[in-house]
């Protein structure tokens, strides 16, 4: 990489910009520009009248943000989003790691087969499986309640009870997403040299001890990476509540993105919606930086 090579290596050639131009123009106009515009939008009172004529927009500076803070529904959405990310995220990681350890175990045969099966939920279309799960969660005819009734657990109104709706969405999300993280964990596990385990066995370390002293520390960079991408994804919760609960019951599953969608694209309060989007951005940015810092400290 470092050594300059060939004619194209000299910086006067226009070739690289020719190759970059389409991508940079598209990403610039249709991503970075809108992101910057969103910041401006969040400082205006852009609403349904402005959709018709932009002239009806005024700068209101931070009024959207102050309204946000005094809007109980915003706090509900914020709380729901954190609930989903902070409970669903770790559960997904645990399920993924468990599956990866099982599939990657020395004694397991048909590794490829199990890996494929576990991965299938991830490739499916979220909207379609959300509809399927809506029926699995049916209080009367759903398979889940039927299975629970075998153990004497009374019918739970999964999606109709504000207490259970979010756990139900989390359960589905764990099922849907664990296979993806599992693959990354398997790749990480395979990088751990086998000799480490061998010498640990010679020293008489049991399976649990090996897991704690070898697997976990060796896997920690992978763990942080997976935690970051899972969390970023989970903070953007939208389709599950949109399809399964419409944000209900009693707003128990209204996420920040769902609230942004409703405010922006149903009521056309786009200035206000943009402020929600920016708060979400700040949360994701903060959480990402925190986890990366954590990783750095561990590496020292």
């Amino acid at each position: 990489m470092k050594k300059p090579s060939g004619a194209a290596a000299d910086s006067t050639s226009g070739a690289p910009w020719f190759f970059l131009a389409p991508a940079l123009i598209l990403i610039g106009i249709f991503f970075f520009l809108p992101v910057l515009a969103a910041l401006v939008l969040s400082l205006t009172d852009f609403d349904i009248y402005a959709v018709g004529d932009v002239g009806n927009t005024r700068f209101v500076w931070f009024r959207n943000y102050t309204r946000l803070v005094s809007h109980p529904l915003f706090w509900t959405a914020l709380q729901n989003t954190f609930y989903f990310a902070l409970v669903g995220g770790p559960l997904t990681l645990a399920a993924s790691l468990g599956a990866a350890l099982l599939v990657n175990a020395r004694l397991t045969r048909f590794k490829g087969f199990f890996r494929t099966i576990y991965f299938i939920p991830f490739v499916t279309t979220l909207v379609a499986v959300a509809i399927v799960w809506r029926y699995l969660y049916h209080p009367q005819y759903g398979l889940l309640n039927y299975a629970l009734s075998v153990f004497g657990i009374g019918p739970i109104d999964w999606l109709g009870n504000p207490k259970w709706a979010m756990p139900a969405i989390i359960l589905m999300a764990v099922w849907k997403n664990f296979g993806y993280n599992m693959l990354i964990f398997i790749a990480g596990l395979q990088e751990i040299p086998e000799e480490l385990y061998e010498s640990a066995r010679i020293d008489g370390a049991g399976a649990l001890r090996q897991f704690r002293s070898i697997t976990l520390p060796m896997l920690s960079p992978t763990l942080v990476f997976v935690a970051v991408i899972t969390m970023i994804g989970y903070f953007q919760l939208f389709a599950e509540p949109y399809v399964m609960t419409q944000g209900g019951p009693l707003r128990a599953t209204t996420s920040m993105v769902l609230l942004m969608y409703e405010e922006g694209f149903r009521w056309w309060r786009m200035g206000y919606a943009a402020s929600i989007a920016f708060v979400l951005f700040l949360i994701i940015l903060t959480a990402t930086l925190l986890q990366l810092r954590l990783q750095k400290r561990e590496a020292v």
């Binding site: 050639s13 990403i27 520009l33 809108p34 279309t125 940015l285």
Partner: protein, 265 residues
């Protein structure tokens, strides 16, 4: 013990899918009976027939295909050019542009959606396929994936072609593209699956039912036909089937992409 856990896990992973297929073949009302049935008493294809005749699911199928195929091919071309440029050229500002692009990875796409909608409205692209396609035509992730792969290629190959007097586009088109075919396959599958499954942006851009992609149409139908469990399951099967087929046939390339993409972390 090990196998018992593995098999139970596999059953749990597959159960919702199995039930979906099974319920889609049940006569009207059978999926809402107690105790719930896992397999149909008698197999019927009436719901599939109804989807294509009464509900015109074929229309949405075509819409989804147009969008997913166009995004896949255009983005493959555009991302591979950019990834190649980042990997094999030394030019002023390269690192700065690259760093700027990386910051884009932590910005949630939803932040861009509100202004993007207004922009596309100005361009007259709301409720068109292009409105869905254009924002997907270049992706930062795709550029990174290609760059990572091209960096591992030896420079000599490209220099030899240059000495032979080949033009830069010729080199990209007839030397680089053929060698990076594995990563192109990975990116193609990734892009196809994620575009096919995408929901929020098509939901926002497409306002007229005749333009809906399958997930948007399905979400819409599921509101009107809550009681028609079997019909909705048939619709879900048809939505998932194409991605499942693509995945099962091409999973090697797909899986490779996930692990390559994660190594940089």
């Amino acid at each position: 013990m090990l196998y018992a856990t593995l098999v139970i896990g596999a059953l749990l992973a597959l159960l919702p899918m199995v039930w979906m297929v099974s319920a889609s073949l049940m006569p009207q009302g059978e999926a809402s009976s107690y105790p719930p049935r896992i397999f149909p008493r008698a197999v019927t294809f009436e719901h599939y027939a109804a989807l294509f005749t009464r509900l015109e699911l074929g229309r949405f199928f075509i819409n989804s295909s147009i969008v997913a195929v166009t995004v896949t091919f255009t983005s493959l071309f555009i991302n591979s050019m950019a990834g190649y440029a980042f990997a094999k050229f030394h030019f002023r500002g390269r690192d700065r542009v690259f760093r700027l692009l990386s910051t884009g990875l932590v910005i949630p796409v939803q932040v861009a959606m509100l202004p993007l909608f207004l922009l596309l409205k100005e361009l007259g692209l709301i409720n068109t396929y292009w409105g869905v396609i254009i924002p997907g035509m270049a992706s930062i992730f795709g550029i990174f994936l290609i760059r990572q792969y091209v960096m591992s290629l030896p420079d000599d190959m490209l220099d030899a072609a240059r000495i032979d007097g080949a033009g830069e586009f010729r080199i990209y088109w007839s030397i680089v593209l053929p060698v990076i075919r594995p990563i192109l396959a990975t990116l193609a599958i990734w892009t196809f699956l994620s575009t096919w499954n995408d929901f929020m942006w098509p939901l926002i851009v497409l306002s007229e039912e005749s333009r809906y992609t399958l997930p948007v149409a399905l979400a819409n139908l599921s509101g009107e036909h809550v009681q028609d469990t079997e019909l909705m399951m048939a619709g879900s099967v048809l939505t998932i089937l194409p991605v499942l087929i693509v995945f099962l046939f091409l999973q090697r390339s797909y899986v490779q992409g996930i692990t390559v993409g994660s190594v940089k972390g």
